[in-house]
């Protein structure tokens, strides 16, 4: 029987408008455990190391296999999904804080609706006439194009890239890397490119691409290894081209 334990320092906050405070918990070490499963142990017996019985820690979870994006938080100072943060890599104590830049709802639970707002702003969808069968197969796509596109389509809106971005935050209108990468994805789609110009115009507006400070934090923290800075670079060139076309009145 393994008698080791792991300590968790957790930044807590009861309500969106209340002051944060810290509490420390201890859980037994178990091999292959991750931060999410440790939080589950803690909530079952929410007692701090001082022996004080407290409310269970609130956080968001769902798939537990790093595909839904729900459980992102700041773990030892880095934004990442809690489910794939294995205790074995983290030592002790492990410091948990809510994902920064997003409003705290309670404890480690944050409001990420701004991600969706960004997707709306850049029209991150394909304009179709309606979701019915038109009895015609779509355009062919080469496996190479597929491979490039698929990378961007794995974005799970966890918000880690935005949390890490020095230009993104409540003080700024910057859309953040996730929405920019969606423009890359949609503009490469054979049907999506019909609205390429409009999306580029939105990237040229307030909160758009010019707000990117090229810190490259986003690509370093993305749990899905999405080449976010490549997308930003490609779109930078597309935007420049669009600026020229606009100047020449060529739309």
């Amino acid at each position: 029987m393994d008698v080791r334990t792991v300590e968790f320092r957790i930044r807590r906050q009861d309500r969106p408008d209340s002051e944060p405070y810290w509490q420390t918990f201890r859980v037994p070490y178990r091999p292959n455990y991750n931060v999410l499963s440790a939080l589950m142990l803690m909530r079952e017996e929410p007692v701090t190391i001082d022996g004080k019985r407290v409310d269970p820690v609130a956080w968001e979870h769902n798939c537990m296999e790093e595909v839904c994006g729900a459980c992102a938080m700041l773990i030892n100072g880095l934004p990442r999904p809690a489910c794939s943060a294995l205790l074995d890599e983290l030592g002790s104590p492990i410091v948990l804080e809510p994902l920064p830049k997003f409003p705290v709802i309670r404890d480690l639970l944050v409001d990420r609706s701004r991600i969706d707002q960004g997707f709306k702003q850049v029209k991150a969808w394909i304009e179709i006439d309606g979701a019915w069968d038109v009895h015609e197969a779509g355009p062919r796509v080469s496996p190479q194009t597929w491979a490039e596109t698929y990378l961007y389509s794995r974005c799970m809106s966890c918000g880690c890239c935005m949390a890490a971005c020095p230009q993104f935050g409540p003080w700024s209108d910057f859309l953040g890397p996730a929405a920019v990468a969606q423009v890359r994805l949609m503009n490469a789609n054979p049907i999506g490119r019909f609205d390429r110009t409009e999306r580029l115009h939105r990237l040229m507006g307030n909160g758009g691409l010019s707000d990117c400070g090229n810190a490259q934090n986003c690509v370093r923290v993305c749990p899905k290894e999405i080449p976010l800075t490549t997308a930003i670079g490609e779109l930078g060139r597309q935007v420049t081209g669009q600026l020229l076309r606009d100047l020449l009145g060529k739309g």
Binding site: R43, L86, A131, T149
Partner: protein, 628 residues
């Protein structure tokens, strides 16, 4: 009449398809979800979605898809809906393609297709090994488009507590709880569609399901009078990876792409797997089922693993685990087509499945059973009559169900690649049905007296107060863990009537312990324990139904297996052999008794079960399932 409003509950593939259909027809849609819809459990589906496009030159056809699905489900599904499902699958795929889903491609740029279990043709379209995620995101984008046009209103972070019925028993809305403010509120609607997903959390932690796949919503409407069908049919996925917190799915596509399942031939062989010579490996699926090999159906594979580990004692290190081996396959192909699961295995186990065989075992995965839904047969086609308001209607007028929370397409066992299909298709059909239902409706929910809503809100607030005020010693998390352990051991892959009787008793006892609950917290803001404890209670109610239904079905069919009642196919005998024909006669005799849908009606003193004839008008049950 006021402009009709429709409430959709659940934001996975079923709910989002229904939303697109209903909003597309011009009706106002209120979409409720426990969380942001793109985090719904559909996102976890990996391997693919079936449609007989025949892109691989194998002569695949709609008919073959139908035959595989019906036989895979041991004939228990009503056949007209399955026929329509298979016929409409290619159209659904084309629509997914149009909305931008990045399906994997053949070298010439067509949609690629791969092999899945229980079939012989490559029929499964896929997007790497994250197909569910890609389909869900495509729909999420379309719903966001309609949301930006004001045609869909999302209510994320709300939980359905109950439906509201008027004096005639017609569903006229819902009562839901804001998961942040805990406000309990009624919402009027002229029709309600439930797309609330599966219930794998009843088997926690040995399930591939998300923590929110509790079945609580389905349980709640069942307790309010909606019929529940085939509750005893629950799928255990043969290849999940070990985890103490959750067992993570390793897609069936791993076998479809050539992955092999094996154990060392001698028990207690502790050599590293790659040093064990070929002749000392037991590829039991290939030996026992040479015709289908590693791609037998999931119920068959799960039972084979059970037999190898529990009866023959050949599990790895004496455990329940066996190897799923990809190491002999071309690495580039594996990385391109299965990358997402390789990443999961690597991240959670620290081992690369391209280098070392994975260790896997069966885990709770998918509910074939669910809310009973109707269909209208079209005599002209033999399928469902398109647009009929009966399709996907529950027995409660105005209440529809689609996706995993219904029971319609998979019979006694679901084929891989058919869940993304049925979730999408049923959502689309439910949306169309609602449209017709609303056109025929002559009274608006706006005219329903307020008292019906007030009474239901009050009842739900009462339950919340009771849970919040409880001051006993019973911890909801512990109750859930006990539920999971009990269901896994007693209502699992292999079943026994004595154990099922014991399980039912224990589940009743578990229910009574809620009287002594302790909620651990009394916060009035974002109190997750309150919502959770209520879910656990409703899971226990559903588990009771599953145990009772399993107890009462005295036969083996698909995923429901009682060894003492097994009708084994005579070894080495095939159609035409007297022994096989004798077996066929006994199989048919058993069908005449048990080829029936289990219908359950809730009552305070336990589920009331009855049986209904299955519509086998498309493919008469003449050929037993045989994967040898």
């Amino acid at each position: 009449m006021n402009a009709p409003r429709v409430i959709l509950v659940g934001g996975g593939l079923g709910g989002l398809w229904a939303a697109l259909r209903v909003a597309g027809a011009g009706f106002a849609v209120d979409l409720f979800s426990l969380f942001e819809v793109k985090r719904s459990h559909s996102v976890c589906a990996q391997g693919g979605i079936n449609a007989s496009l025949d892109h691989k030159g194998e002569g695949d056809s709609v008919h073959q898809h139908l035959v595989d699905t019906i036989k895979g489900g041991a004939y228990l599904a009503n056949q007209p809906p399955v026929k329509s499902l298979c016929e409409d699958a290619p159209g659904l795929i084309r629509t997914y393609e149009r909305i931008g889903v990045p399906f994997s491609r053949t070298p010439e740029g067509l949609l690629d297709q791969r092999l899945f279990g229980g079939v012989k043709n490559r029929r499964t379209c896929f997007a790497g090994a994250s197909t569910g995620q890609q389909l869900l995101y495509g729909l999420d984008q379309q719903v966001r488009r309609l949301e930006s046009l004001g045609r869909i209103t999302k209510h994320e972070w709300w939980e359905l507590l109950s439906i509201v019925k008027d004096g005639d028993g017609v569903c006229r809305g819902i009562v839901a709880m804001d998961l942040r403010s805990l406000a309990v509120q009624a919402f009027r609607a002229d029709a309600v569609v439930l797309a609330t997903g599966g219930l794998g959390q009843i088997y926690t932690p040995k399930t591939t399901c998300s923590t929110n796949a509790t079945g609580a919503a389905a349980s709640r409407v069942y307790q309010q009078g909606a019929l529940f069908a085939n509750a005893e049919f629950f799928q255990f996925h043969p290849t999940a990876m070990l985890g103490e917190d959750k067992t993570r799915l390793m897609t069936e596509a791993a076998r479809g792409e050539g992955g092999r399942v094996w154990v060392p031939r001698s028990p207690g062989d502790t050599r590293p797997p790659k040093s064990i010579p070929e002749r000392e490996r037991f590829y039991f699926l290939e030996e026992w089922y040479p015709a289908y090999g590693n791609t037998v159906t999931r119920d068959v594979a799960a039972r084979a693993i059970w037999k190898v580990t529990r009866e023959l004692g050949l599990g790895l290190g004496g455990s329940d685990r066996v190897y799923l081996d990809l190491t002999h396959l071309d690495r580039t192909v594996v990385r391109t087509r299965l990358g997402a699961i390789l990443q999961i295995y690597r991240k959670f186990r620290g081992v690369d499945p391209v280098e070392e065989p994975m260790e896997i075992f069966p885990a709770a995965h998918y509910a074939m059973g669910g809310l009973w839904v109707d269909f209208e047969k079209d005599p002209a086609t033999g399928g469902m009559r398109r647009g009929s308001p009966r399709n996907h209607a529950t027995n409660v007028p105005g209440l529809y169900a689609c996706g995993e929370c219904d029971y319609a397409y998979h019979g006694a066992n679901r084929l891989g690649g058919n869940s993304l299909l049925s979730a999408s298709y049923s959502g689309s059909v439910a949306g169309e049905s609602v449209y017709t239902y609303l056109k025929g409706l002559n009274r608006s929910a706006q005219d329903t007296p307020q008292s019906f809503y007030d009474d239901e809100v009050e009842r739900q607030q009462g339950i919340n107060l009771r849970f919040m005020g409880a001051d006993g010693g019973q911890n909801p998390y512990t109750l859930h863990r006990e539920l999971g352990a009990l269901m896994t051991t007693k209502v699992g892959v292999v079943r026994d009537n004595r154990e099922l009787d014991a399980a039912y008793g224990q589940l009743q006892e578990l229910e009574t312990r809620f009287a002594d609950l302790s909620l651990l917290e009394s916060s009035a803001w974002a109190n997750q324990t309150l919502a959770y404890a209520r879910q656990v209670f409703d899971m226990v109610k559903l588990a009771q139904l599953m145990a009772r239904s399993a107890r009462q079905r005295d036969e083996c069919r698909g995923a429901h297996f009682k060894p003492e009642l097994e009708l084994p196919i005579p070894a080495g005998k095939f159609a035409g052999d007297p022994e096989f024909e004798d077996y066929r006669t006994r199989w048919k005799a058993n069908n005449s008794r048990w080829l029936k849908t289990t219908l359950a009606e809730y009552s305070a003193d336990g589920p009331r079960l009855r049986y209904e004839q299955v519509d086998t008008s498309v493919l008469s049950p003449e050929e037993p399932r045989d994967y040898r």
